[in-house]
C-alpha cells in the first residue's frame, strides 16, 4: 500500500471531511489533564499533537466509565437502547479516533478480544468499535516510563491501526494498514509521500526505537507466574500499595466493571461502571465473605490478570506498556520493578 502525506496545513480540511462521516475523537488538554474526547467541528483547528501519552487512556471512547445498558419501566416494554444516554450521538456515526499512540491502539485490539470473542459478544463495545477508524500516531519521543517494547509493542507499532501516521514536521505520513483505512484515505486524493519523506519517517522510527528503555525478555513470564501464587513477593509488593484505582482506571486495558441498578418504584436503569480489583468491594460477597480480603490478594490479581490469565484466555499480555500506572501511582509502585522481581526470583 502506498504511503501518503497529509500536510499539516491541510489537516483541518482533512478532519472536516472526515467529520462528515465520523464522530471524531482527538487528544485535548483541559485544566492540565489530557484525554481523548469528541471534537466539535470548530475545535479542529486548535488540536495539538505534540503530547506524549494522554493522562487518561482512550478506552472510555469504546468502553465508557459509566454507561446505561438499558432503562426499564414496569408499565412499558424494556428498552435496550437508552434514550437518555450520551452514547447516542456516538452510535449515529461511526467513531474515528485521531492521533492515538501505538500502545493505546493496541489496547483496543486486546479489549476487542475480551469483549468480542467467539464465546462472548458485548454488543455495547462491538457497536462502537467494529466500524471505528483508528489513526495511530507514531511516538517520535517515547517517555522514560514507556515499556511497550517489553510487551510486543513499539513506538512505531502498527497493531490496531487503520491508518498509521508519522509526524515528520510539516506533514504526517499516512500509511493505510487495513481495508477500512485504505478505503477512507484513497477517496481523499492525497499526495504520495516522496522518497525523502519516507526516509525521514524511517529515521524517526530508528531514533524512537533507540530512545526507548531496553527491552526485557518476558517470554517465560507467564509460565513463571503459573507457580507464583503463594510467593511472598505479593505481600511485600502490596505493602506500600494504597489500593486506590489510579493504576487500573488509567490503564488502557483494564476492563473490569460492575453492574448496578439505579432507580426506584418500578422505573430505572441498569448501568455498568468501571470497577477495580484494587478495591475491597470488588470481590465482596453478599454472604459477607471476601475471597480477596487484603491488599496482597488484590495486588496478585492485578499482576496475574495482566501477565498470566489473559495470556491464557486471549494469548497476549494484558499490558501495552504505556507506563500510565507508573506515572500515576501515588506511592511510585512501578510495575516494571514487580516484573523484574518476579523474573529474578524465578531465574
Amino acid at each position: 500500500m502506498d504511503i501518503l502525506k497529509i500536510k499539516k496545513d491541510n489537516l483541518k480540511q482533512f478532519l472536516e471531511y472526515l467529520a462528515k462521516k465520523y464522530t471524531i475523537f482527538a487528544p485535548v488538554e483541559e485544566d492540565g489533564v489530557s484525554s481523548f474526547r469528541e471534537i466539535e467541528k470548530m475545535e479542529i483547528g486548535k488540536l495539538k499533537f505534540d503530547f506524549y501519552n494522554t493522562d487518561k487512556p482512550p478506552k472510555d471512547i469504546f468502553f465508557p466509565q459509566t454507561e446505561t445498558l438499558f432503562t426499564y419501566d414496569e408499565n412499558s416494554q424494556l428498552s435496550t437502547l437508552p434514550q437518555d444516554s450520551a452514547n447516542n450521538s456516538q452510535l449515529s456515526k461511526p467513531i474515528a479516533i485521531f492521533g492515538v499512540r501505538p500502545c493505546d491502539a493496541k489496547s483496543f485490539t486486546l479489549l476487542d478480544k475480551v469483549f468480542d470473542s467467539e464465546k462472548y459478544t458485548d454488543t455495547y463495545w462491538k457497536e462502537r468499535y467494529k466500524d471505528a477508524l483508528v489513526f495511530t500516531l507514531a511516538c517520535n519521543n517515547p517517555l522514560s516510563t514507556c515499556f511497550c517494547n517489553w510487551v510486543d509493542g513499539g513506538p512505531f507499532n502498527k497493531n490496531g491501526a487503520d491508518i498509521f501516521l508519522i509526524d515528520i514536521g510539516e506533514a504526517f505520513l499516512a500509511e493505510p494498514c487495513s481495508k477500512k483505512g485504505e478505503e477512507v484515505i484513497h477517496k481523499l486524493l492525497l499526495q504520495k509521500a516522496a522518497g525523502d519523506d519516507l526516509k525521514k519517517g524511517e529515521h524517526l522510527k530508528r531514533e524512537a526505537e533507540s530512545m526507548i528503555s531496553k527491552s526485557i525478555e518476558l517470554a517465560s513470564l507467564k509460565k513463571s507466574l503459573d507457580s507464583f501464587w503463594d510467593n511472598p513477593l505479593w505481600e511485600e509488593t502490596a505493602r506500600k500499595c494504597l489500593n486506590c484505582a489510579a493504576c487500573t482506571y488509567l490503564c488502557p486495558t483494564c476492563h473490569c466493571f460492575d453492574i448496578q441498578d439505579e432507580g426506584k418504584s418500578g422505573k430505572g436503569k441498569r448501568i455498568r461502571i468501571w470497577d477495580s480489583c484494587m478495591f475491597k468491594l470488588f470481590t465482596q460477597e453478599a454472604a459477607g465473605t471476601n475471597p480477596r480480603p487484603t491488599g496482597k490478594e488484590r495486588m496478585r490479581q492485578r499482576i496475574m490478570h495482566k501477565f498470566n490469565y489473559l495470556v491464557e484466555t486471549i494469548g497476549e499480555f494484558g499490558c501495552v506498556g504505556c507506563g500510565r500506572c507508573i506515572i500515576s501511582c501515588p506511592v511510585n509502585l512501578d510495575v516494571r520493578e514487580v516484573i523484574k522481581e518476579i523474573k529474578k526470583i524465578r531465574n
Binding site: V33, K240, V331, D334
Partner: protein
C-alpha cells in the same frame, strides 16, 4: 540534605540494633525523578536505602493502620510535621497507643507538588535534576531549566504552620522554627462569593475519576468501610457524575473535620490533579475558629467532633 539523610540512616540503624523498633517506615528513592517511595525496613543493612528530601510527599501515618504493619512488633516511623500530627490524631482517636510507635522527627522544608513542577516545564518529561541551594535544575530532552524550590512546593507546605512533628522520640536535623508559616495562606478563594467558590470546586471535582487515591492516601481516612463503599444497601451512586462525586468530596471533608492536618497528601496523590488542599486548609481554619482546636498537636486532647461544650458556637440554630 545528605547530612540529614546520613543522620537518619544512622538513627534508624541504632534503633533497630538496640531493638527499640522492629520495623521502620520511611522513604527510599523512587524509580522516577522527583518520586520517592515508601519503604519498610526491618534489617539494619537496608537502612542505607533511606532518603529524606522534598520528594517525600506521602504521609506515612497512613501505614500505621490495618494489616500493613500489624504483627511487626514495635514500629518506628519517620515523621515530617504533618506525618507527626497525623500520628497524634491516630493516638487521640485510639487507633494506636503512643508507646506502640517510635516517632523519628525529621527536619522538613516542605515537599514538592509534581504537578506544579510539570507545569513549570510545559509538562515535558523531566529526566534528571540537581539541587543547588534554593534552585532546582531540571533537565529533559532538549531543555534545561532552573526553578525556584518555593515555586514548586505543595500548597499545603506553603501554608504549613507546624513543620516539626509535635511529638517525637528522636529528632533528626534541627527543628524548623515553629509557628512561622513559610508564607501566609494566599488563598484567594476566601475572597470569592459562594457561587464563585462553588463554580471553582465544580470545575475541580469534574476532573475526579473516583479512583479514591485521595482517600486512600489520606492518613485519617482509615474507616474499615468508607461511606462510599456501603453496599448493603448502597448509600449513593458510584459513577463519576458531578453530583455523586461532589458529595463524596464534601462528606470526606466533613468527616475529616478536626482531624485533617492539611498535609496535602490527597492532592499530591490525585492522578488528574484535583486540588483538594483548599478544602482541608479551610476546614482546619473553621475548626480553629469554632472550637479553638488544632488537630494533631496534643496526644491528650479530646477531638472537637467527639466533644460538647456549653461555649460552642450555635448561631446556626434558628
Amino acid at each position: 540534605m545528605e547530612n540529614i539523610e546520613e543522620q537518619l540512616r544512622e538513627t534508624v540503624k541504632k534503633l533497630l540494633k538496640e531493638k527499640k523498633v522492629d520495623l521502620v517506615i520511611g522513604y527510599s528513592k523512587g524509580t522516577l525523578p522527583f518520586h520517592s517511595t515508601p519503604v519498610f525496613i526491618a534489617d539494619e543493612k537496608d537502612a542505607d536505602n533511606l532518603i529524606f528530601d522534598f520528594t517525600c510527599g506521602n504521609n506515612l501515618a497512613k501505614y500505621l493502620q490495618k494489616s500493613k504493619v500489624k504483627n511487626h512488633g514495635k514500629i518506628g516511623i519517620i515523621a515530617k510535621g504533618c506525618d507527626g500530627r497525623s500520628i497524634v490524631q491516630h493516638i487521640v482517636e485510639n487507633q494506636i497507643k503512643r508507646e506502640e510507635v517510635v516517632i523519628i522527627g525529621v527536619h522538613c522544608d516542605g515537599v514538592i507538588d509534581i504537578r506544579k513542577l510539570e507545569e513549570k516545564v510545559g509538562r515535558k518529561e523531566i529526566l534528571k535534576y540537581q539541587v543547588e541551594n534554593d534552585k532546582i535544575i531540571v533537565e529533559g530532552k532538549g531543555f534545561k531549566k532552573s526553578l525556584s524550590k518555593q515555586d514548586i512546593l505543595s500548597d499545603s507546605c506553603i501554608a504549613c504552620k507546624y513543620p516539626n512533628s509535635p511529638v517525637y522520640d528522636v529528632f533528626v536535623g534541627n527543628p524548623v522554627p515553629i509557628a512561622e508559616p513559610r508564607k501566609p495562606i494566599t488563598n484567594n478563594l476566601e475572597s470569592l462569593s459562594s457561587d464563585e467558590r462553588w463554580a471553582y470546586f465544580e470545575k475541580e471535582i469534574s476532573k475526579c475519576i473516583r479512583c479514591y487515591a485521595c482517600r486512600n492516601a489520606c492518613p485519617l481516612c482509615y474507616c474499615e468501610e468508607c461511606f462510599v463503599d456501603q453496599s448493603n444497601p448502597q448509600w449513593f451512586g458510584k459513577s463519576p457524575n458531578l453530583s455523586d462525586t461532589m458529595i463524596f468530596h464534601i462528606v470526606r471533608t466533613l468527616h475529616t473535620a478536626g482531624r485533617c492536618v492539611s498535609c496535602g497528601a490527597c492532592t499530591r496523590a490525585c492522578p488528574t490533579g484535583v486540588n483538594l488542599a483548599p478544602l482541608g486548609i479551610r476546614m482546619e481554619k473553621e475548626i480553629k475558629d469554632r472550637f479553638g482546636y488544632t488537630a494533631g498537636l496534643d496526644t491528650e486532647a479530646t477531638p472537637p467532633m467527639a466533644d460538647w461544650n456549653e461555649e460552642d458556637k450555635q448561631e446556626f440554630i434558628m
